[in-house]
Symmetry: D3
Subunit: 130 residues, 6 copies
């Protein structure tokens, strides 16, 4: 009855294997994370998600470390345990120091507090911000 | 019956006015946002929140623009309209370009999608990430 | 195309009117809130929701004011604007003072901050709390 | 100090046992899930919740499989691990295939992404949708 | 300082216009919704989002009406006002009756209640569901 | 790669130890919870969070048990497992009975259901509540 079924490289279809190989090559990893092994249960979602992610996380106006820290912030705010674990690790790999992690968490916590104060007190949006 | 009551500088107590003045001086603004005018209904919360925010948002291992963009990310992820409006404006003031805003939103959206995929498929945390 | 259609007492079916009358009598109000007028679009939901709410909010081990403040806390935490507005008003009607409102918001904000810190830092549950 | 206490059929009061028996009969199961064994700690909540659930999930304008998949969608969107596990199993029992599960997750993920884009970009509601 | 800027067809670049035309053709609409006009501020996100959405919402193991109702469920659970408005309208256009809408909301509400009960009581996942 | 590192009293810096000692004294506990041991990785956040929490949770217009139950409500609504576990235990220590816990959960569940009904049906805020 479990929803979880990990598709390993050896048992994967050609379509899935091509995506796995692209992930390993792009990220310079020996194997893909569980996330991708699970998505492989629905190959169309695996392919579309990886292609979107590759495009979104590529260097651009924001650098890759900045993007990973934003990913952590969203994952904490939405309370996704897997996502916090994997993207915190990815951010560390891209150069996030302990001090940066400490400040990242402090900002996330502070924003969560002021969010609730704004919502609870029903603060009207300032004219200048409309 | 409304919960919203905006305390203006002219009607504020000395305690509230001192906080308002510190906000205006620190941020170089002619007036404080509605957020602070509403918090002034509970002076202890106004003072504590401003002091915490000033400490958390000060330059450190992360620069102020980066911190504001993280604030936007949390606010979008938690769906706080006021907070999205005010912190997007603050990030623009600190130098966020249209292209940076576009990428910021793309990362937030992408993270929200993969969060749900990880949760819905019940992806087990990889041993290496525990 | 709007989903909102307010059913007024005069146009309501007998089944809906009976629920409206019970709400007005129980809460000693001249008319029901928009919430009930909208639920009346699906009479089975109107009836079931009102009967559940009446049972849950009745005096018990917790008093009605305490229950209304808990309702506000959940509504702020889940960011439901209508619910924050209506239950803050209901709590005031039951005796919540401005100082109590100030502390209520402070607790909600603080809890939101520490929630995120616990999630983001991935704090393991203490043995004694399992 | 744990909040969790599973009430088994053998130790249950008559009131609780009557609800357990109705759940087993209605769902054709040899035993009830942990969810019900925990709710039995507060018999009034057990009874009210089961009666509401039985009414809401009965065949109507939407068929039971459709309702279970909607339940999964809400559970993923609100990140309730227990609920995702139990309702995914229930949907499979009612006929959800692997391909349907794959599309279900894809829709949930996509909706989560566009939700955040709409919120983050502050998209104004179209006149025609008001 | 507003983040909202609606790009109309007449002022759009060729790249944006091609996406707008594809949306109008695919959905048989005279104009695109505000959502797309706002995304056009970041053409890469506009194009990627539309292509993903077209793929995910196409008829498959689940029919398009079912997919739209799932979209509504996620939007309500995540409290996205714009998304609730636009996808409820889309579901009605695809054949959702008032009775179906009533049951849809009832399921979403019920799931939200039992989600919180499962989380609050810390219900352990049944062995059979692991 | 894990983000979790528990700082014990023996290995803590003087600054961290002073906070730990104040927590133990204030709460009359032999040791601090894991939450504080983890926050100690970023001493500025440890100190600021403890001082804010001490101020917010002190007796005032609301009594400490009431405040702990509000904390539980927010934690359940935001789905923070650690926070539900620790604050339910703290509320029990302050006198919450099983019957109070049962009603607390019933109110949280009910509020979550009506929150979604208000959001999904797009209930307009009553004039009297604006």
């Amino acid at each position: 009855m479990s929803t979880v079924n990990l598709i390993e490289h050896a048992q994967a279809s050609d379509e899935v294997r091509a995506v796995f190989d692209d992930i390993k090559r792009t990220r310079n990893l020996p194997d893909v994370n569980n996330f991708w092994k699970v998505l492989a249960n629905h190959p169309a979602t695996l392919k579309r998600t990886w292609e979107s992610l590759k495009e979104v996380m590529a260097p651009g106006a924001l650098d890759p470390l900045m993007k990973e820290m934003l990913y952590v912030a969203v994952s904490v705010a939405q309370n996704c345990e897997y996502c916090v674990a994997s993207h915190t690790a990815a951010a560390k790999k891209r150069g996030m120091t302990d001090e940066m992690l400490g400040e990242l968490m402090a900002v996330i916590g502070m924003a969560s507090e002021t969010n609730r104060l704004a919502i609870g007190w029903r603060v009207p949006v300032d004219e200048a911000l409309r």
